[in-house]
């Protein structure tokens, strides 16, 4: 005979499914869950909406966000709207950033984590990592830390990323975000950690559902371990889910070459990418490199001509 046990309700995050779906990149599911859940408090309701709209942003459905969030909406949602506006129109970006700079210059409500996240996201897109990190530094939520880690990794500061990760792990080691951040750091660290990173992605797709985010994570791990055939399976699955997902295409460009496939195969993926995602950083870099190549070529010439 054992004492009857019951689940303490306070321990359960009622928005778990919403958040979890968002972080693992299952945006439609996030939206579905958000529409299903009945938040118990007004704060939770705002939090739910925040994830709902961010999921729309991740799906590039900016109009929904811009239309839905009214000037009367809460400060958190305004921040989300700002990010949506930034993402939606290229020509307004400078103005939005200037406006944001002004806001940041004044004292910021550090409790409005959403604002910090959105501001940092904009700065990160602007490649202004300093400002992004400065902004994130003011927050202490798991997501702020996760974003800090991402920025640090893009700066190749694995050492600092690991420190930040340690903080996350102290706060909640099992949280989805902590797990994901662990995987990012592990990929950057490389070596034996790659397998750990792989397991994190794989376990999540096992447990929840396999998303493009998780699949590309797995593929990155495989490729970092030179397991090209294995990566092919994962990327194929990703391609089946969405045939024009830019990161999948980029990874396929890498993969097909390592598998020794004909150059035409690789070029097909490159063309697809050029077709659908002109503004992707990868292509920006690619074009810049082409120009650089042409410029450098000029420096060489034969001593005699026929």
């Amino acid at each position: 005979v054992y004492p009857p046990l019951s689940i303490p309700l306070g321990d359960v995050d009622e928005l778990f499914d919403v958040k979890n779906a968002y972080y693992i990149g299952s945006y439609q599911q996030c939206i579905n869950e958000a529409q299903k859940v009945k938040p118990s408090t007004p704060e939770k309701e705002i939090e739910r909406d925040m994830f709902l709209y961010r999921a729309y942003i991740a799906q590039r459905k900016f109009a929904v966000v811009l239309d839905d969030i009214k000037p009367s909406s809460s400060a958190e949602l305004q921040a989300v709207r700002m990010f949506a506006e930034y993402r939606s129109s290229e020509n307004k970006r400078d103005a939005i950033v200037a406006d944001l700079d002004k806001k940041m210059a004044k004292s910021v409500d550090a409790a409005n984590t959403t604002f910090l996240l959105m501001a940092a996201s904009i700065y990160y897109h602007e490649m202004n990592t300093d400002a992004a990190l400065r902004t994130l530094h003011q927050g202490d939520s798991l997501e702020c830390m996760a974003m800090t880690i991402q920025v640090l990794l893009s700066l190749d500061r694995v050492d600092l990323a690991r420190k930040e990760l340690k903080k996350m792990q102290e706060q909640d080691e099992d949280a989805t975000l902590t797990q994901l951040a662990t995987a990012w750091v592990n990929i950057a660290v490389g070596g034996e950690k790659l397998q750990d990173a792989y397991y994190i992605f794989q376990e999540m797709s096992d447990k929840y559902s396999s998303t493009l985010l998780l699949l590309n994570g797995q593929a990155a791990c495989y490729m970092a371990q030179n397991k090209w055939e294995e990566a092919e399976g994962v990327l194929q699955e990703a391609l089946d889910k969405d045939s024009s997902h830019p990161e999948t295409l980029i990874n396929l460009i890498v993969l097909t070459q390592h598998l020794g496939k004909a150059p035409e195969v690789t070029n097909r993926y490159l063309s697809q990418l050029k077709d659908a995602h002109r503004a992707h950083p990868f292509l920006r870099d690619y074009l810049a490199k082409e120009n650089e190549f042409d410029r450098l070529t000029m420096q060489y010439a034969p001593t005699a001509t026929a």
Binding site: Y2, P3, L5, I7, P8, D11, V12, D13, Y22, G25, R54, A58, L133, R134, L152, L153, S154, L155, D156, R157, D159, L160, K163, E173, D174, W184, I187, V189, G190, G191, Q195, E203, D206, K207, L212, N216, G217, A219, A224, N226, E247, I250, N251, I253, V254, Q257, G260, P263, L270, Y286, K289, E292, F293, D294, L296, T297, Y300, A301, P302, A304
Partner: protein, 1230 residues
């Protein structure tokens, strides 16, 4: 102790296991003998002839017999097949306590309260010997299992051992019958010499109730009213007491040796069964009942089964679980056997011990959970007292010696069950029934509050199944909440499908009251089906098609998720399924031996295909499998697939009824024709009528000679001609009323009149004729009336004409039916003919294979390369050395990076946040770590890459390299997504990722020498096809790629260089040939130039296939130019290459012609005997010793005038440039 079966009855005084079948006999105090099937838990039979308690009971080992002895002084021998007592042996003068068969001779041994032991011959049905000597009741007497000995126990406090060899000799000697006859008359006289007391064992100080021999050792165990169990040893001359087991606190009723282990079992009136360790003489287990005194024990001769009889029934039990602990991952089975963890590779059947387990527990491993990521196992051990259960966490050693595996230090903690929930976490259900999550160090990470829970099971990453009293709950460990619950009591095992999409919950069997249950649920724990088994369900596994294969005590069965289930085959002994693949069931048996059983999966595959509506599979099986059977047909009918069943059936009768059932008139007609039975035609007629298929209806009526119905059919279909015919037939048949009816239907009045007249209905005939205005006829009839006797009837003046309506449009086709799309089966059957054509198509395709064969041949030509690839294996050592060399240089590069302020990112102490500076990216490291151009391109450092290519191989024109550069760059970095809506993070695949650490990285190259070599094939094919310009382009692409290789050893460096040479030779030769073809050939000089170039071409190093072509061209040109001497040279070279027969023949002819006039008509700039290089720009020979300029990459030769220009072969390098040389391996920098 595990109770397998229990009965409730009057007091059980005797028990006997059947040696082969799952049966046990129980003799009861109320005179009844029961025969039970303990596996099916059913009472098979009852034998009620004894008067009063039955104490002795024993199965015969071979015959369908058993013997019983009771308080009615009777020994009865029964045949359980005939279900009756065969005969009764009389002789004892008091209660009979035990009766046993001899294992070999036709003897029965009985012990009685009359103080005697008797031996009976059950064939002659006589007493052959009486053993006297005990001076109180003899409670038990048993034969020795192999020797001529008997042991007996008596209330006179002794145990006696008797030698009965005399009796055996007497019975086996010739003339035994005679002796026996003599024996019968003189039992008392000769008994003494037949059986003598050998040993008298004294030691018990109260009456002895039971004594038994050890099955193999010279030991005896006895139990007595002094509450002791004693072990005795004996030899030829004496017997002595070995030890005493004390513990029972009332009379010991029975004591037996464990047939296979060093254990003794005893039971007693103190209501307990005790198990004793023979060597330690200590009690190891005690099993108590509340109210029932125990009276008897039985041990199964072959299985680990025991039975005990008590005041209110009996129980069949095992001492310990025989289920091995195992876990399956991928192709590997892990299982515990004899303190070893073993690993079985299903594919190779390689079975190895991977580690030795820590000893210390007397209990076997109960369950196992395996973690493939960390190669670790959790082994749970369950103690009798659950609270003392423990688990061990082991990390399986990576390498092991199977003969003498390591015994790694495990981590042991207390806990009921431990299962993995993630690669680095496991859950433990502790003895307080709370849930702990632990890490790989066995440290508690967190405690989770769970709903009441008595057992936990694996449920995929991050989840568990929790079992409580009446259900199973899917619990998310991370969120700490229940996700779903399903009601099912006493789940014992949980089996997940490989993709964890389905789970089978196997629930416990509680004797007859609660049958075993299998519930199949999906991932969300929604119940899909429930299956009940009257017999214990032992184990199960999912096959690759999603069918659950499970075993009961005596069957292998299947279950579909739809709930369909059935028997696949029977089993002699229980097995534990570990995996199912195709028609192989992998399992462990009770001895923990891995076995593979073959099953016929056709039936469940078939049903699965039906459920999934995969009709082409169904059809395939119908056509190819030997599935046909009444059960399948019945199944199909029951499940509503008569159309499928139809295709199974050859038996026309079944076919007919199935066809009717699915309304397939054609098939039914076919079957009816074959059967040609009246009842069939009738049924078919009915069915066809319902469908309006009146042509078939007509045929049916015809066959059944149902004229009435046929006539009516013709009427309603307006078929007047046939209707008239029917009328004629009726006339012939003398069927008057049918005939008349026909006439009525036809509206044929004169016929009616005729009929009426013929049958003597004169007045009716007259009336008919008169009414219809057939005056002549009426008149004639009227005259026949005799006015005396007959009156001419009045014609109704108001008569109305009654005529059947004439058919406007006779129905000669069937009634229109709705067009039903043909079912798959009909279509498939109809397509039978087409299938044949398909097969033919395949044959047509077959010759295509030869094309492949040719390819293979082509590959064989490149022997050099094949060998080279073989050599790939032996370069490991070299590569490593080189790595070491690099490290030295690396250290020199390092310091600047170490200068980076460590606290750059952490300057928070002052309250100001100082953003960190950028770190060193892996791509920068790549540039630092390598001097190979490709590493720099991959790193995106085009500037340094170009510098390297310039310095190493003299590239000055980078234009053609652009696409190679861009392509290479694009494979340098992968992508992975961090947070949503943020730019992705970049991964850096490195070729030395395993041991490069943070600073020594080098990029994964992605361009392999073998790939380039493979690409040669394409170029060769283009060359053969004569597409020279394309071929040149491809050769050049290969050539340009060579400097972008990274190889590991000298051999590969040499191969890379060889590859360049091949490309160069082809490019030079093919460009020259292209050039030659463009040249005019009008003048002799021009023709001479053409011949020269053709001759030079033969000096390029080409594949034999191509050389043959080149030589033939040159040969032809020179022959035409009448330069026979040189032509003959070409001809000889050509023949040396062994061309095709017809080419060889022609060549020989030309050669013969040339040899007639071995001279050259014209002087050419070609001397085949003087070695030369060919200028790749001007295509003139550069004979040895003349100045030559070379291309630094391709090695193509040029006249010195071309120095400084771009190489014609590579189109990127500068001719005659001074360079370092090709660098494709770190080896070249040492």
């Amino acid at each position: 102790m595990l109770t397998k079966f229990e009965t409730k009855s009057a007091r059980v005084k005797g028990l006997s296991f059947h040696p082969k079948r799952p049966w046990i006999l129980a003799s009861l105090h109320n005179g009844v003998i029961q025969l039970w099937d303990y596996r099916m838990c059913t009472l098979i039979d009852k034998f009620d002839e004894h008067d009063g308690p039955v104490r002795g009971i024993d199965f015969h080992k071979q015959q369908p017999l058993f013997v019983s002895g009771g308080d009615d002084y009777k020994i009865k021998v029964w045949n359980y097949k005939l279900r009756r007592c065969l005969f009764t042996l009389l002789g004892h003068l008091d209660y009979i306590r035990t009766t046993f068969f001899h294992h070999e001779y036709p003897w029965i041994l009985s012990a009685s309260d009359d103080q005697t032991i008797r031996i009976w011959n059950w064939q002659s049905r006589t007493c052959v010997c009486v053993l006297t000597g005990h001076n109180h009741y003899v409670m038990c007497a048993q034969f020795h299992p192999s020797e001529d000995l008997v042991v007996s126990a008596s209330l006179d406090q002794t145990v006696r051992v008797w030698d009965i060899s005399g009796l055996r000799k007497k019975n086996l000697s010739p003339g035994a019958v005679e002796t026996e006859v003599r024996g019968i008359s003189g039992v008392d006289l000769f008994g003494a010499s037949d059986a003598v007391v050998k040993h008298v064992l004294e030691g018990h100080d109260r009456g002895v109730n039971w004594a038994a021999f050890h099955p193999s050792m010279p030991l005896i165990v006895s139990g007595a009213d002094d509450r002791q169990v004693k072990i005795w040893r004996m030899n030829e001359s004496k017997a002595w007491e070995l030890d005493t087991c004390r513990g029972h606190y009332n009379n010991v009723s029975c004591a037996v040796f464990h047939p296979r282990q060093e254990l003794i079992l005893s039971n007693s009136e103190d209501k307990s069964i005790r198990v004793w360790d023979m060597s330690k003489r200590t009690g190891v287990q005690t099993f108590r009942r509340d109210h029932d005194r125990f009276w008897v024990l039985g041990a199964h001769p072959n299985l680990n089964l025991f039975a005990a009889g008590h005041d209110s029934g009996m129980l069949v039990f095992k001492l310990e679980r025989e289920r091995p602990a195992y876990a399956v991952y991928g192709n590997m089975l892990y299982y515990v056997k004899d303190r070893f963890l073993r690993q079985l590779d299903f594919n190779s059947s390689k079975d190895t011990a991977v580690m030795q387990l820590r000893s210390g527990s007397k209990f076997p491993v109960f369950s196992m959970s395996y973690n493939p990521a960390e190669n670790a196992v959790l082994l749970c051990t369950r103690a009798t007292n659950l609270e003392n259960s423990t688990y061990d966490l082991y990390s399986i050693p990576k390498e092991c010696d199977s003969q003498n595996p390591d015994a790694p230090e495990g981590k042991r903690s207390s806990g009921l069950t431990a299962v993995w929930v993630a690669r680095n976490r496991f859950a433990v259900l502790d003895r307080m029934h709370s849930l702990l999550i632990k890490n790989l160090k066995n440290e508690i990470v967190k405690k989770v509050q769970v709903p009441s829970c008595e057992e936990i099971f694996y449920a995929g990453t991050g989840s568990l199944l929790l079992r409580d009293a009446d259900g199973v709950t899917l619990f998310d460990v991370q969120q700490k909440r229940s996700l779903a619950t399903v009601k099912i009591a006493k789940v014992k095992y949980v089996v997940w499908s490989a993709d964890t999409s389905h789970v089978a919950l196997l629930a416990k069997h509680v004797f007859q009251s609660v049958p075993s249950a299998i519930m199949i649920c999906n991932r969300k724990l929604e119940s899909l089906c429930n299956i009940h088994e009257n017999i214990r369900v032992k184990s199960g596994a999912w096959d690759e098609s999603g069918v659950f294969i499970y075993t009961t005590s005596n069957h292998i069965k299947y279950a579909l998720t739809s709930g369909d289930h059935g028997i696949i085959r029977t089993l002699d002994l229980p097995i534990y399924v570990t995996r199912v693949r195709g028609n192989s069931v992998y399992c462990l048996d009770r001895e923990c031996r891995p076995r593979v059983l073959t099953i016929d999966p056709t039936e469940y595959r078939f049903k699965l295909a039906l459920v999934n509506r995969k009709y082409e599979e169904v059809l395939h099986m119908v056509r190819n499998a030997k599935l046909v059977g009444q059960s399948i047909i019945a199944y199909l009918q029951k499940k509503g697939y008569p159309e499928v069943a139809l295709h199974f059936v050859k038996d026309e009768k079944t076919r007919f009824s199935l066809a009717l059932e699915c309304g397939n008139i054609e098939v039914a007609l076919e079957a009816a024709k074959a059967l040609d039975e009246r009842s069939c035609w009738e049924r078919l007629g009915e069915a066809a009528l319902l469908q309006g298929h009146h042509q078939v209806v007509e045929m049916c009526y015809q066959r059944t000679k149902n004229f009435d119905k046929l006539t009516f059919l013709y009427l309603i279909t307006g078929n007047l001609a046939k209707l008239r015919k029917m009328m004629k037939i009726a006339e012939i048949r003398k069927d008057m009323s049918g005939h008349y009816q026909g006439a009525l239907y036809l509206g044929d009045v004169s016929e009616r009149v005729r009929i009426l007249k013929n049958c003597g209905q004169k007045s009716l005939a007259y009336l008919t004729a008169a009414t219809h205005g057939m005056d002549e006829e009426a008149e004639a009839l009227k005259e026949t009336f005799d006015p005396e006797k007959e009156t001419v009837p009045e014609v109704d003046p108001n008569a109305q004409l009654l005529q059947p309506p004439p058919p406007i449009n006779p129905l000669d086709t069937n009634w229109p039916l709705l067009t039903v799309s043909k079912g798959f089966f009909e279509g498939a059957i109809a397509a039978k003919g087409k299938a044949g054509q398909m097969a033919a198509d395949l044959d047509m395709d077959a010759p295509g294979g030869e094309g492949w064969g040719e390819d293979a041949e082509l590959q064989l030509d490149e022997d050099g390369f094949m060998d080279a690839q073989d050599g790939l294996g032996d370069d490991g050592g070299v590569g490593k050395e080189e790595g070491g060399g690099w490290e030295v240089e690396e250290d020199l590069d390092l310091p600047p990076e170490l200068d980076m302020p460590a606290g750059a990112g952490g300057g928070t102490e002052d309250g100001f946040f100082v953003p960190p500076t950028k770190g060193t990216s892996p791509t920068q490291m790549w540039c630092n770590n390598s001097q190979l151009p490709v590493d720099h391109i991959l790193a995106g450092s085009f500037e340094t890459a170009m510098r390297l290519l310039h310095d190493q191989v003299g590239v000055v024109n980078f234009g053609p390299y652009k696409s190679l550069f861009m392509q290479t760059l694009s494979r340098g970095r992968t992508c992975y997504l961090g947070l949503p809506s943020l730019p992705c993070l970049r991964g850096h695949p490195q070729r030395n990722w395993k041991d490069c650490g943070a600073k020594q990285g080098l990029p994964a190259v992605g361009l392999r020498l073998s790939d380039l070599i493979a690409r040669l094939q394409q170029c060769y094919q283009l060359t053969t096809a004569g597409r020279f310009e394309e071929a040149v382009e491809r050769f050049r692409a290969i050539l340009l790629s060579v400097p972008l290789l990274v190889v590991d050893n000298k051999q590969e460096i040499a191969e890379a260089q060889q590859l360049i040479t091949i490309c160069r030779e082809y490019i030079v030769g093919l460009t020259m040939e292209t050039e030659r073809k463009k040249l005019p050939k009008d003048t002799l000089e021009q023709q001479k130039r053409l011949c020269e170039m053709a001759a030079y071409f033969t000096h390029c190093s080409l594949q034999p296939v191509h050389m043959v072509l080149v030589l033939r061209t040159a040969l032809n040109l020179f022959f035409k130019l009448r330069n026979f001497k040189t032509a003959a040279g070409f001809a000889r070279r050509l023949l040396e290459l062994g061309p095709k027969p017809e080419v060889a023949q022609q060549t020989r002819k030309i050669l013969a012609a040339c040899e007639k006039t071995p001279t050259d008509a014209h002087q050419l700039n070609y001397d085949p005997h003087n070695p030369f290089d060919l200028c790749a720009a001007s295509f003139v020979p550069l004979y040895r010793g003349r100045p030559v300029e070379k291309c630094p990459l391709s090695g193509a030769c040029y006249c010195p005038t071309y120095k400084g220009q771009v190489c014609r072969v590579t189109q990127v390098t500068e001719i005659g440039k001074d360079v370092i040389g090709l660098r494709v391996s770190a080896l070249q920098f040492r």
